[in-house]
């Protein structure tokens, strides 16, 4: 099921905001939220939250706005192949919270990875009733040809993946891609840095990465199903506070 597209841009007059907020206050329930409930500290935690591990290429990201789901940046993946778990489609849309709210303002959420166009990714798709991002934590890796001609993985931090064990991921000391993000060109694929070949010398190949994942899956098998759209029982701009225990 794909995420339903609504108005791409919406005018943001103050009165409109008040009406929208009033509507949301009246119509939403804050008690039924069911996103990930535990932190992802290790790859085993990540796998416990994963329904499927897939690969796909982002083609022409676009923005949507929905009064409940909020502003979304949608990265359409094509040529999708599934490495592990259950996902049978050849296309997939990753709709992450963030993007234009109206013609004047945009929501930015620094904790979520930015995906760029014409870039192939290996993605851990969540098995939880997600709302903010369909990706498990930061487990989305850009795939690039390494100096040995095999695909290697680049983390959202821009660092190459050099190892994967139950304890954690190992990364290159320095980032291998240009890390500047200019919002006038948000979907442009960052170029590799000049000395990328040297920095990628110790990068793990995709095949070795998947073999390491397979080993970890013997401890924590994938479970559940990926849900293509964000949870319907939440509103993007309302988050419940929690009082400390008495």
């Amino acid at each position: 099921m794909t995420y339903p597209l609504k108005a791409v841009v919406r005018r943001g007059a103050p009165l409109g905001w008040l009406l929208l907020t009033a509507t949301l206050v009246m119509s939403s329930s804050l008690g039924a939220w069911a996103d990930t409930v535990r932190p992802v500290e290790t790859p085993l935690d990540a796998l416990a939250n994963t329904a499927a591990i897939v690969e796909g290429t982002v083609k022409e990201s676009f923005y949507t706005f929905d009064s409940q789901a909020g502003p979304r940046t949608v990265a359409p993946l094509v040529d999708v192949t599934t490495d592990f778990g259950r996902f049978e489609g050849r296309t997939l849309e990753l709709a992450t919270l963030g993007g234009p709210i109206d013609e004047k303002q945009e929501l930015f959420v620094p904790e979520f990875p930015l995906l760029t166009d014409d870039t192939r990714y290996l993605v851990f798709l969540t098995n939880v009733d997600w709302f903010f991002s369909p990706v498990v934590d930061d487990y989305v890796f850009r795939l690039e040809k390494g100096p040995r001609g095999t695909d290697v993985l680049i983390a959202p931090s821009g660092h190459a993946v050099e190892g994967l064990t139950a304890d954690g991921l190992e990364f290159s000391d320095e980032p291998v891609v240009d890390q500047n993000v200019d919002v006038s060109r948000p979907n442009v694929k960052p170029r590799l840095v000049e000395n990328a070949d040297r920095l990628l010398a110790n990068a793990m190949s995709k095949d070795d990465f998947l073999a390491a994942v397979r080993t970890l899956l013997s401890t924590v098998p994938l479970q559940g199903e990926f849900r293509g759209s964000p949870a319907k029982d939440r509103v993007w701009n309302r988050i419940a506070a929690e009082a400390p225990p008495r």
């Binding site: 804050l30 535990r38 930015f108 988050i239």
Partner: protein, 343 residues
């Protein structure tokens, strides 16, 4: 006390103020222009989730104070005298909120900051920042020699870095995406912006002042980008001395002035001997050059001197001749003990 008070009269040396992009810190740009706040911004404490006098409030205030404590960076963030009392935080209302929430409400993250900015035409600026921190974290003091991945204090500092406009960057810093993050040494506050964080703040919001501030840390960043303790466990030596010891060392310069400093190692039976008032110095290195806004990791090997038998805490510290904005972070108790036996 705001460290900036020490340096109100400090000389302005503009050439040193615009930290160069040789640093690693990251931020968004619009047509090449950094996206920043147009002026200082106020945050509204949600007292329903962060009651006055609570450890949550203490952790939140620490984040505000510590970011404002970076000398060479304008005081950008402050807490409004007004708070909110409701149990729902709204984004898009033009109000900057700080709240604690259930982890499930922020996608399983330790923290989440929702930032609203003007659309990018020629430039863009921040208009709202709502900071959320997961309620199951520990908001209390972080011990200088303990590795933790569950610190709400660390998360507040990280999220307030986002609120200033900084992005993730994987260094020995607070803008690292995940915990654990390094802490500074000393008996007092250990959660403080680290060199690359401070450099980012100075770059986005330069004030013109200079800072001298060395610190020691019991943590290091590995070549695989993990944060680990410099050393752990116990090493045993003979009381007559002569045994060889190899130690990892981390010293940082949070200031924007290069320094020469001395480094010292000592042992003490006290777990709070940061000024070496009752211990035994075991090694010293003098006149080490230390670049501004950098963390330096090194390894030292030396022969242990003769010591009375006993079990000791191990300390590492740095000294500098100039007046520091903060001195209580110059020494750290490492996470290793030294056992000396009669022989």
């Amino acid at each position: 006390m705001n460290r900036k008070n020490f340096f109100v009269g400090a000389a302005l040396v503009s050439g040193l103020l615009m930290a160069s992009q040789a640093h690693a810190f990251r931020f968004l740009t619009c047509n090449g222009n950094p996206i920043v706040w147009g002026g200082p911004f106020e945050m509204m404490q949600n007292t329903f989730s962060i009651p006055g006098g609570s450890t949550r409030q203490n952790a939140m205030k620490n984040a505000v104070d510590r970011w404002n404590g970076v000398i060479g960076m304008q005081d950008m963030v402050s807490m409004s005298v007004f708070g909110t009392t409701g149990n729902v935080i709204t984004t898009g209302d033009g109000q900057n909120d700080v709240a604690v929430t259930a982890r499930a409400n922020i996608g399983g993250k330790n923290g989440l900051t929702l930032m609203r900015r003007s659309l990018c035409v020629l430039s863009s600026s921040w208009g709202e920042a709502d900071v959320f921190v997961a309620s199951d974290l520990n908001f209390g003091h972080v011990n200088e020699d303990t590795l933790t991945s569950t610190s709400g204090r660390s998360t507040f500092l990280h999220e307030f870095g986002h609120a200033h406009g900084l992005l993730h960057q994987q260094r020995a810093n607070y803008m690292r995406a995940t915990q654990p993050r390094p802490v500074v040494g000393g008996p007092n506050e250990t959660v403080d912006p680290l060199p690359d964080d401070a450099a980012g703040g100075r770059f986005l919001y330069p004030s013109g002042f200079l800072e001298i501030n060395l610190f020691a840390s019991a943590f290091r960043r590995t070549s695989g980008d993990s944060i680990v303790l410099n050393q752990t466990g116990t090493q045993t030596f003979c009381s007559k001395g002569g045994g060889s010891i190899t130690l990892n060392a981390t010293i940082g310069n949070n200031g924007n002035v290069p320094q020469f400093r001395n480094e010292r190692w000592w042992v003490s039976t006290s777990n709070n001997d940061h000024d070496n008032s009752s211990g035994f110095q075991i090694f010293e290195q003098d006149d080490m050059f230390f670049d501004a806004e950098k963390t330096t990791q090194s390894t030292v090997t030396f022969k242990m001197p003769a010591l009375p038998a006993g079990t000791y805490f191990l300390y590492h510290g740095a000294d500098v001749l100039g007046t520091e904005s903060r001195k209580d972070d110059n020494a750290v108790r490492e996470a290793m003990k030294i056992n000396v036996i009669d022989c």
